[in-house]
Symmetry: D2
Subunit: 454 residues, 4 copies
């Protein structure tokens, strides 16, 4: 329990309908890509009674067998948990639900705090009892200790925690959406009739049948109760530093950021990528799904024909076979099959959204060469990954990042490619509309210094 | 989470063997009769790392599939949970495991606190965060808040909580057995070579292959560490009030209390019962299993022949059939079958350990009469149950106790028996060796006034 | 699939109630002791539609979760399977359900055929396709091949198969109960209002709420349809040879054989056992449950006091712990605990229903001696087991039978007892009322020569 | 069991490696799209011992938990079952495994027989016992009855059954691949070192790491044993009629037919579709995945830009929510999300592989219009579906086919589209290289008259 895993999760909140838990489950299903390890929902009925169901597994598994029918109430919050380590423990699946002097409070958290040792030590010496190994629990302790109103308590908590956090919180009569002052992780507001909805991405609103209202702003607390919606601003102010990797990779292409779809930003990345890193080739091959929009942009700029030569499997089952001696199970091929004749005898430029460890990239290049590609070039729709993320994305250790250990010729050799080209930081920023982003994973400029770096 | 269920559970602790968790599981299996709802074990290895496994179900189910292999370490505590309400929630299965300024602490609790509202209110106003709906969590909060040594912290906790509690606690290097100052619930110490063992009853020691050393005394804290066994006495003193119902019904007949087996006390109850409530009959029929020893005592005193006419089924499966109209499923018959010819044409005296609600008693009498018994008399090896237990036994509400609503002729009529005779309080006390017992469920004299009665 | 396991199973059939499947499940639950490996039910509705559900596990597990609700129809048959080997395969769980020129037929079988090689070879060369590894399938093939009426077909089948078989069979409109010409395995008929019931033992009738009518006679076919009950006699005639071991061990004490309860036969065995093998002792200790009635008989004849010193556990879970080095898990103790003080310093005579391998017997004797018994004598309520059963009881190989490898002094030494005494064949026969029994497991006189012995 | 479901399944066979079952599982995983209901594998070791494992579920679920480790042996066959009806029964999951006068035989079948009533009646009157409700079982009965060599027996079976069947069969020492005389369903041969492999599609060879050798020819039996590969031709001859819908929809785009990838045929369909059914539009939107290659062909011919506006979800979970009143769960949206801005204000031509019932098509059109598409045109890469398939594809009843009930304007109105255009039969044939195909689902010209039409 001294282990605080990074988590890139999905969160949902619903207020004002007897279908609250079912809508929440639909929203979580639409956000399943943000976390496949576990899922949970807490619902609250008009008498202030809380119901709770959570488990390891996908949303559709956790809420099979009528679990949703027992989650009665007009208010509900939910959470998808991202698996960051081998060990899945149900205790860490959210929402967390506690009782305290304020009564019961449930909380679901997307993001990662960076001053956990300080928080833990302060709380522990005040007699706090921790029952999970999540940083999210600290926020509940801080709220429970505060004696002011709920908004004062959340404000006080925000002044003490540091890092990335988008939250949905519910008490017996209020639903709250919170985003940290820098807005690392997304959180938006929608509506269906008189029902209000929070969700990590707008793609959840679409499936829930909700209309997008606006994003929760960095540093904003949005309270929803029978009296309607009320907004408060945290006293903590800071420059916005939205996670650029949400746009590059994490979010669904049909989700929206500011006024445009994630797809459109990725398409722009592809256009800029071609301008910065042109390439002579006979065919463009995207690595689906997240590399596809940039590949279309690259194609539109370069006029090189694009082929969906990699075909994604709809069945994962990564671990059901333990191969034995003399048998090779290509887990990369289990995810993407290749239509060999589309690349045979051709110069291929493969468009990927990012190259992190490089291991799957090497396999894909091998597949292309085995199928007869005469040249293989890689173009990547973001800069090289060189630094850890402390705000909720689970990158491997620095020494496992291939752009740290290899550059230039050495990198091409390691990947067995004829050339590699990354999008520049400036190019990426421009493609993303020039908004204010955290790009620490590329350049090490951390908006808030993490504890471990002090 | 404002619900604090009464629990009559089984607890086990082991120190000093790499098989700690497996021994603990064996002990819990031997104590399965004390709680069938759920089971859990926490183990600690030499590096102070804690492992935890718990679930709803029997010990043999919860620890199937290799769960014990992952519970490594030389120290371990375990818990069987008694189902007191319809809803089984994994959160309430013990041991509880927390982290705090003292590091990690695990606790397993048998008993019931009676000042929970006061405790809750004091802790909550100090900012405590509750994550279970058990009274056991309060004890952890109190220990976590104390700044002294572990023994000071436990001592302080004991001065604040009121009620029944036998506990096993483990920190990263110590195992502690604790019994409340009145000793409501049992807890004993055993040894196997250099390994120390705590268990609720001695029947667990037998299965674990351990030798009985002695009981943990009321108000005693027994600390076991690499330095051996150390005893401390709580500053709270009180007269002993051991639960008489443990002897009457709850414990296994092969468990020991003071120097004798539970069987022998029950045999004595039967002898005294005959003296106090003699009966002319042709055959004595025990209600197995807990009524059997008293029936043997009754037989030895009365010289009336005893027949094991009720045969216990080894398969429960109480709820797998939902009977439909025109179909009668006799759940009492599913548990005990009757060998009709042993009672046909005879005057039967049925010996039972207790009559609480009276519902199963009524069914048994019907079975006996259907099989041709000419008279049915009941003799009960304890006094009439008339009061709630606040110290951990889950009796129904007072108005469901048949001895509250019916007496004398009316009671015989309700049960459809020719006569009924209960053991007197004095007779019961004498049969139990004249030790100091809590008999509140019979006479309403509560050793500690419960909160609800104030 | 060349493996035909012996099976001592329980079978049930119900005709004439919309609760047919639920009644069948109740009956199977009462017969659970006859087979714990798997269970199945086939039901038939008025339109001749068959439903089928079966699985590995206890009746209460297999039919949990609403399976019974889907087994609609007024007719139903069921089966409990006995686990005879390590490998449990769902294919072998009965009832078997087939389609053929007669339409669909379901069959459940208790017993064991002895001419399986001949049957298999004859059927195979006629083009038969086998899909299970049970001998029961042969009977279905024989019925399917016959071109006469159903009763002609069953009669023809009975003339071809040899061995032990009690059967319940259902077609789209008839329920049939069949017992082989020698009547090795039991089968009885009962009624509830207009509903007819077949069951292996009368204890199932009791739980189903049915009144016992009579046994199906050896060689009899009992047909039940909308026209009522009709009996036919097989052309094959043979002397009755009811399995004596059903009375000694297998049946529940409350089941009936001829006019008396199984308990009463066992009680008589105990009386005769004392007469034949008297013993000086201070206390009689039964090995529950099947040894208890004989011990009561032995006590009534000898006037030695009886104590229920062995206490049976209600939780099995035999295999959940894999003990490690330095740890001893006494699986015998997990089943029976000992109240030591009842035997301490005493000469004990332990009454058991049978001694087969001797392994658990050795453990029990050790427990008694460890608890301080000064002498341990064994009296066994049947003769020594020396021969295999070919008619459905799963004894171990001859060379594992302790009475084959040891006699007299050598046997006492092996078991570490002061004396051992078995009931004689004559004594056993007499205690069982002098009826005609198969005693081949004691004397090797097989009523029908098994194929393997030819 | 008079119910013979149509099944479009995947089959695999492996000979000559100790990893046979694991390779088979990999192959089945690659063929998962051909059947998601259940999966099974039979393996055979050098001693002729058969092992069997099958269950309801995906390959990765059925073979989780070490099931593959128990499937030892150098030979193995496997099967993916397609769910055609609500009721999934494990009995119908293949491979079927029987015992008969030839010893044990396992069989896995892809396709559908059309003379099942005749077969059933002939076999039943000869005394056959059926234990599944599959047509596949008939083939085993016919083989079991034949007295000649295995190849004679299979040949004889082929002369009696009529319809579509690709088979893998294994006996204790031979693996056989069989394709019916018209070659309705695919089956190919591959090799890895000395190991031979059969699979329904070449995409399975790719994942297994096997090299494609050739297709099994229509009417061919390919025997593989320790003596190598041997081919025999069935005496039944017929014109080839390969299922065109395998190319249009069923097979994976990276699988091969004759010399080209399925992708390339679909690309050609798209080119021809534009030529036959041109359309003025601003954007081409494919319905992924099977509509994508044709859309690329359509784009290449029309020069209209293509956008991947529909984004496929990687999580199905179709049934976990039972929506309540006032809540709309759009199951079509759960599968495909739309990037609205790519179609907003544009004239859209949506390319789909087929329109069968029309229900999902209507939903997609609605999504496009809701997102602001000004016109919606549909182009379909095959002719209108108007007839049932009797050879293994599970189309709905004729009266549910939208092209049967609606044409022309009425069809456009039903789908709410501005225009719809289908590829012609001639166009489709040409795109598929002019080979000999069954196109009965379009034109009702059945290569073999089905029983039900006689």
């Amino acid at each position: 329990m001294n282990f605080y895993p990074k988590d890139s999760c999905g969160i949902v909140g619903v207020f004002g309908t007897p279908n609250a838990a079912k809508l929440t489950a639909l929203g979580l299903h639409a956000l399943q890509h943000r976390g496949e390890e576990g899922a949970g929902i807490v619902s609250v009925n008009d008498y202030g009674q809380f119901n709770h169901h959570k488990n390891i597994g996908l949303v559709s598994q956790v809420f099979a067998n009528g679990a949703l029918d027992r989650l009665i109430g007009n208010m509900s919050i939910g959470h998808n948990r991202y698996s960051t380590t081998g060990k899945s423990v149900i205790e860490n699946v959210q929402p967390l639900l506690i009782d305290c002097q304020r009564g019961k409070i449930a909380l679901a958290h997307n993001g990662n705090l960076i001053n956990i040792n300080a928080l833990r030590s302060e709380l522990a010496s005040a007699g706090a009892v921790f029952q999970t190994s999540t940083d999210s629990e600290f926020m509940l302790h801080l709220i429970a200790r505060s004696e002011g109103t709920l908004s004062e308590a959340i404000g006080e908590m925000m002044s003490k925690v540091s890092g990335a956090y988008s939250l949905v919180i519910c008490t017996k009569d209020e639903l709250v959406g919170v985003r940290d002052p820098r807005g690392f992780r997304p959180l938006c507001i929608g509506t269906i009739g008189g029902t209000f909805v929070f969700a990590s991405e707008t793609c959840a609103l679409d499936l829930m049948g909700a209309r997008f209202i606006r994003d929760v702003l960095p540093g904003e607390m949005v309270f929803i109760s029978k009296d309607g919606l009320r907004s408060e601003k945290s006293k903590v102010t800071a420059a916005c530093s939205f996670c650029i990797f949400e746009l590059v990779y994490f979010e669904r292409p049909n989700s929206k950021y500011i006024d445009n779809s994630v797809h459109s930003y990725r398409f722009e990345m592809g256009i800029t990528l071609f301008k910065e890193q042109p390439c002579e080739a006979d065919v463009i091959v995207p690595v689906p799904d997240s590399g596809t929009p940039a590949a279309f942009g690259f194609a539109s700029a370069s006029k090189i024909p694009l082929e969906m030569a990699f075909v994604r499997s709809h069945y994962t089952g990564r671990s059901f076979i333990q191969p034995e001696r003399g048998m090779r199970v290509d887990s990369v091929k289990m995810k993407l099959a290749l239509i060999g004749e589309l690349v045979k005898g051709k110069r291929v430029v493969m468009i990927d959204d990012s190259v992190v460890r490089g291991t799957t990239c090497i396999e894909r290049v091998k597949n292309l060469r085995d199928a007869g590609a005469t040249e293989v070039h890689i173009r990547v729709s973001c800069p090289p990954h060189k630094f850890a993320c402390h705000y909720g994305i689970d990158f491997p250790d620095r020494n496992e990042l291939i752009a740290v250990s290899h550059q230039g010729e050495s990198l091409c050799k390691a990947l067995n490619v004829d050339s590699i080209g990354y999008l520049s930081e400036e190019g990426l920023l421009k493609a993303c509309g020039g908004h204010s982003f955290c790009m620490a994973c590329f350049n090490g400029k951390y908006p808030i210094t993490p504890e471990c770096a002090k």
